[in-house]
Every structure is written in C-alpha cells, then in structure tokens.
C-alpha cells in the first residue's frame, strides 16, 4: 500500500526521533555541512520538508546519499535538532523496502584491497538493509 505524503512524513519523523518543530531555520546546520554544496536539499531544507509533512519529496531527495553522518549539523544546532537523524530516517525509509538496496554485494570486488573493513561495514549499513 502506498503511503500518503503525510503518513510517509510521520514514519520518517518516528525514525528520526528528533523534535524538528524546534527548528528555527537559522541554517547553521547547512553552513556546517561539508557536503551541503552537493545536496539538492541542504540539511535545514530536509528538516523544513519534514516539518511540513512532505514525505514524498524527502524520499526522492538525493541529499541523504551525500550525507557523511559527521554530526556537524547536529553539533552546531542551537535548538537541539538533529538533521543527521532526519537524513538517516529518510535513508532507512528508502532502503527498508524490498529490493531498494543501493550497493550490490557484488560491488565488493571493485573496492581497493587496502580499504579498511570499517569503510565497507559503514557503507553497507548506510546504503543497504
């Protein structure tokens, strides 16, 4: 069953576990984000979309796949909001669907032999379910 925009947003909100209504759109998170200039929706925009219940636009966004999970946004938020958790919630909403994994297991062969396990475990956790 397809979820409505609002239901999808509600699901994302539950997975994010952060109080996005506290956001004042000051933009410090987006200024802190090292990947912000490569994102279609900067962190503060992601939070804004969630506040407004735009679930469909969130799951279509490319930004969560550019996010480094470095927590600079969360650290610098003056209102205690975690845009990083919103990014994570959107990623999970996408990849928890059957067949929506982003990294094929076969791609492992293509990675350099000296790449640390930490990188592979982390990436497979972030992009696959």
């Amino acid at each position: 069953m397809e979820l409505t925009d609002k239901e999808l947003a509600q699901q994302i909100l539950h997975l994010a576990g952060t109080d996005v209504k506290r956001c004042i759109q000051c933009g410090r998170c987006s200024a802190a984000c090292p990947a912000g200039d490569k994102m279609d929706y900067v962190p503060s925009r992601m939070v804004w979309e969630l506040v407004n219940g735009n679930g469909a636009s969130l799951v279509k966004a490319d930004a969560p796949w550019r996010c480094l999970s470095c927590f600079a946004c969360e650290q610098r938020c003056p209102r205690g909001v975690s845009p990083a958790a919103v990014m994570e919630a959107v990623r999970l909403t996408v990849i928890r669907k059957q067949g929506a994994n982003k990294l094929p297991a076969e791609s492992l062969e293509n990675y350099p032999a000296d790449m640390p396990q930490q990188a592979l475990v982390a990436a497979f956790r972030k992009y696959n379910k």
């Binding site: 539950h14 997975l15 994010a16 576990g17 090292p34 990947a35 490569k38 796949w65 550019r66 480094l68 999970s69 470095c70 927590f71 600079a72 969360e74 650290q75 975690s82 990083a84 958790a85 994570e88 919630a89 999970l92 982003k102 990294l103 990675y111 350099p112 000296d114 790449m115 640390p116 396990q117 930490q118 990188a119 592979l120 475990v121 982390a122 990436a123 956790r125 972030k126 992009y127």
Partner: protein, 265 residues
C-alpha cells in the same frame, strides 16, 4: 583496575599498527589492555533510528561483558568509540531501547549502561596524566610539528561523547606536547574526511582530504596523527597532491616511549 579492551574489526586486520602500538605503550604505562574474550563488530556506524534494536546488540554484548569484569571498557578506533559510547548512553537514558535490547539479549543480569566507556586518549589524560606520560618519554619528538586530526566521530555529539570540547578540542594537542613535539592547530582538524563515502564517492573524499591537508600543511604541520582507521585510509589513499604523512597516534606514542617498531618489546 582492569582495562577491558575492545579492538574492533579493523584493528584486528587493516589497522594492526594502531592496535599493536597501543598495547605495547599501555603495558609500559601501567594499564595493560585486556582484550574482551569474545567481541563482535560494533557495526561501524551508530544506529540513529530508535527502532534499530538489532544493530545495537553487538555493542551491548561488549558493554555487558566489560561490566561483568570490572566495569571499564577501553576503545581506540574512533568509530567503535562513537558507537559504544552512544549505545551505552541509550541503554542508560532511553527506557524503550533499553527494555527492547534486554528483552532480546536475556543477559544473566539486565544491562542499563553501567559500564564506563573510555577512549585510550581519555585513559592517558585522566588515569595516567600528561605529566606522568611526559616523564616516561624516552625519545622526545623534539622539533617535530604535528597536526592532530580529530575528524568527526571522536568528539561529536559533544553532550554524549563528553570527551573534549567538540569545537575546540585539546586532548590530542596535549598528547603531542607530552611527547615533546609541537602541536599545530588548524581550523579543519575536526572536519570529516568524508568517511564511508570512500565506497561511493571517491571525489568527495579527495576534496575533503585535499582541504584538510592543505590547511594543516599551511599552518606548518609536518605530519598528521589520527585515531581512526578510516580517516587514516582516506588521508593517504585519497590524497591527490599534498603528501603530508599520516600516523596513528599510538604509533607516535610507542615511538616516544621506545617501544615502537624495532623497539625493545
């Protein structure tokens, strides 16, 4: 005190240097590391979603094992440290997560975040002390200008990691000073190296590493030290121009204490 030790997946394989040097130095400094007899990979990334219970189990198993053996758990890898400390915080502060994890694990005694998770650097600072460390140095690293690279996971989010000021940290600089070298502060020392994007977006890693290294070199650093195997990898493998050498902080420590590679032990 028993210093239970959680090496993690990468320190047993690609980042052995970080692990071996740490064990040697710890033995010399009087806090021998006791590896947990059974541990599992922490998952490398903190599971942020409150319903991600399975992803927290391996961390809790390690935390509970440490609780049963004195209650202290030492970590080295920035990612392991981040995951273990944050999951530990969840077990102490988030009733729902704590209940679900305990329901699943059925430990002999329920776990509620009792273990004290310490990064190796915290042991050096709070248990050994910088002055005592400085007294034990056999090969002072005089004339060496070293940039501390913190990266993202070691200190953030500050209110949970509670290790140092996440925006203006000193712990690695104090460490460098204790070894007789000169710390070089540069503005990008707590920026992310792009981490796991090494797998999906090499260009992003190259950009971040380029900016970090040119900033550090511009401020006069002759080498960088880090506690994170993924930072160490990115800083070398995704360096396209700068060439600034990178070492684990424990390698530097072992060298200064005279127990480095080719050293006494």
């Amino acid at each position: 005190m028993i210093y239970n030790y959680y090496p993690g997946c990468t320190l047993s394989t690609k980042a052995k240097k970080l692990d071996v040097a740490a064990r040697r130095a710890a033995a010399v400094l009087g806090f021998p590391l006791v590896e947990l007899p059974e541990w599992q990979c922490c998952g490398a990334v903190y599971p942020m979603a409150p319903d991600a219970i399975a992803e927290r189990l391996s961390a809790v198993r390690a935390l509970a094992a440490a609780k049963a053996n004195g209650g202290v758990l030492v970590t080295l890898c920035s990612a392991c440290h981040h995951v273990l400390k944050r999951v530990n915080h969840d077990m102490a502060a988030n009733e729902e997560i704590c209940r679900k994890v305990n329901n699943y694990l059925q430990l002999e005694e329920p776990y509620h975040g009792e273990t004290k998770v310490l990064h190796y650097l915290e042991v050096l600072r709070d248990h050994v002390g910088w002055e005592k460390l400085a007294q034990q140095v056999k090969n002072p690293l005089k004339g060496c200008s070293i940039g501390a690279y913190y990266g993202c996971l070691l200190l953030r989010p500050g209110q949970v990691m509670t290790m140092d000021d996440p925006e203006c940290p000193n712990i690695l600089e104090d460490f460098i000073k204790a070894l007789g070298a000169a710390p070089v502060k540069y503005s990008m020392r707590n920026e992310c190296c792009a981490g796991y994007l090494a797998v999906t977006d090499k260009g992003m890693c190259q950009r971040m590493v380029g900016e970090i290294k040119s900033n550090a070199a511009g401020m006069g650093a002759q080498k960088l030290i880090t506690a994170c195997p993924l930072c160490a990898y990115n800083l070398v493998a995704n360096d396209t121009a700068n060439g600034l050498p990178v070492q684990y902080f424990t390698e530097l420590l072992a060298e200064a204490l005279g127990v480095g590679e080719g050293g006494a032990e």
